[in-house]
């Protein structure tokens, strides 16, 4: 699905979003989770928006996963998803943050403090 089956794609990515790659309010991350809100789908959605809703019918996906399934660049899917979130058709959840490494300086200072207490 990732390989382009037909060579050069006939339909460019910008058509999916009507030419925009910016969303005024919402900024989704690559690993933001998307899921359906369960509201009935209104009229007047673009084909790409309907396609994204379809992909999410089975459950939650991250934005990049949806982008791969839709064969669109991430920047386009981000806008599509943000528009759907605006219309309350999607619910988004911030990406689960990866565990961070502790600051070695802080650890060292804590260790020093403990040692100082001991003495």
């Amino acid at each position: 699905m990732t390989a382009r089956p037909g060579g050069r794609p006939l339909v460019p990515a910008y058509l999916a979003t009507g030419g925009t790659a910016r969303h005024p309010r919402l900024r989704l991350e690559r690993l933001s989770l998307l899921m359906l809100s369960g509201r009935p789908v209104p009229d007047g959605l673009s084909p790409a928006q309907l396609a994204l809703l379809d992909e999410l019918a089975d459950g939650t996906l991250t934005v990049v996963e949806a982008a791969a399934l839709l064969r669109l660049p991430f920047s386009a899917v981000r806008v599509i998803a943000a528009e759907l979130v605006d219309r309350d058709l999607l619910v988004t959840r911030a990406p689960i943050p990866p565990a961070e490494r502790f600051d070695p300086d802080l650890l060292k200072r804590v260790a020093d403090g403990l040692r100082a207490l001991k003495h």
Partner: protein
Amino acid sequence: MTVCTVLRAPLHGPLPHPPALWNRFMIELPDLVAGGLAAGTLSALALGGGLLHSRRRLARQQAESAALRGRLDETLRALTAEVEHLAARRLPAAARALAHPHVTVPGPLHPQTAGSPLGHALDGVLQALRVELAAQQVRVDAAAQAGMRGATREIQAALYRLQDALRGLQQRYDDPELAQTLFELDHENEQSLRRAQVAAVVCGAWVGLAREESHLVDAVTGGQSRLAGFRRVSVHNHLRPGTALVSHAVEPVAIITAELLDNALRHSAPDTEVIVSLEHVHHGVCVTVDDAGVGMTRDERERAQRLVAGRDPILLTDLGDPPRMGLAAIGQLTRQFDLTVDVSSTSPYGGVRAVLRVAEHLLSHIDPAERPPAVSAPRSTRENAPDQPEQAVRAPAADAPDDTGPAAPADGARAVPALPVSGAPVHAYGTELPGAASGDVPAHDDDRRDTGGLPRRRRRTPTTAAAADVPAPRGVAPQPPERAAAALGALQSGTAAARAGSTPETAEPTNDTENEGETAR
């Protein structure tokens, strides 16, 4: 004559002196003199008369020849004037008329020349000039086209490379500002590509890109994306899912659609929509482009129809300055690829209706489950007419929203406007869905409740995989191993029996299959 000799004898010869003779002579002399004189006078009169006569004739002839010379001079002057008129007026006009048909070539200076041999000769000069000029024009144009073909081909190739680079960047970078710029550049690039490609096609080049079999709606949407005003175009796809174009027709259809749309967008107000509809017709598919613009005059329409029919060879010099290549390119493509374009009718929206007809032999079929059309291509209004039953499989998955629904109750008040959730089916595409008409079919009922009555795209491979394992945990209780074994045994014996006694009796195999069916159940 005799008179003369008689007269001369006494004057010059020695006088005869015999008296008798002399006497007689003397007597007869007056008579002779009188006779001679009379004869002389007569002859003089005759001579004078002749002289006078010839004088008069000469004078008459002179007058006549003078008149003739005068007429000759006049004719010569007229001829000169005619030739001058030919050189000064008629030849330039005839040359201009080749390029501008509305220029009228003046007739000869004197109307009476028209039917004369001179008139014919002069017309021959004009005709020869026309023939030679036309041939010259074709030669020059062919040279110009060859030059332009070479140049545009290079440009086209460069733009395709640029497109690849831009799309690579689109995949790689996701900063919104940068992505926006990349989208804009991609769009600009598409427009430049379209122009280069159209110029190349007008000059007789190949479309410049080999594509493989593609969905027809993709070709149309691809054509749409090549225009500055693509947002004003709305495509209505009434084709059966999977309607596709054979490989060599893909790019021509995209180009023709783009050019028809460009015309429509150019000649309609910026706040109006251009409607494209894709429909099956007898022996093919029609792409209809309607605009709500000002339409064309009869002359324009005739010219456009002549151009798109592609019967006459194209001369760059005919295309105006700046050259309007769109229709000419359509003409080239319709001729080369056996497509039909008609621009002769008016649109119900007031503007022009352009219809591209793709004949059956240029169509093929792609399984939409295997290779779906592009995500941004409009869905077919017929999409889920044939696969209603399959949606039932998806129902469990679509149940999920019921759980998450209450998650956002605060927004309930401004929930999606005016949508009866479980009432009459509402869908965006039209009313021809069989499921929508028969509301009392229970199998579809809950399905429609889940999807809000909207036609949903069928799931592809992931769902079928899911569909395989969904029924096992849910509906059906796990089979005891004995029953499974019995089913398999029945299947095996059934096939064995069928193989062994393929011809003799038909009763047994049917029995077997019944058995198998029952045990399987």
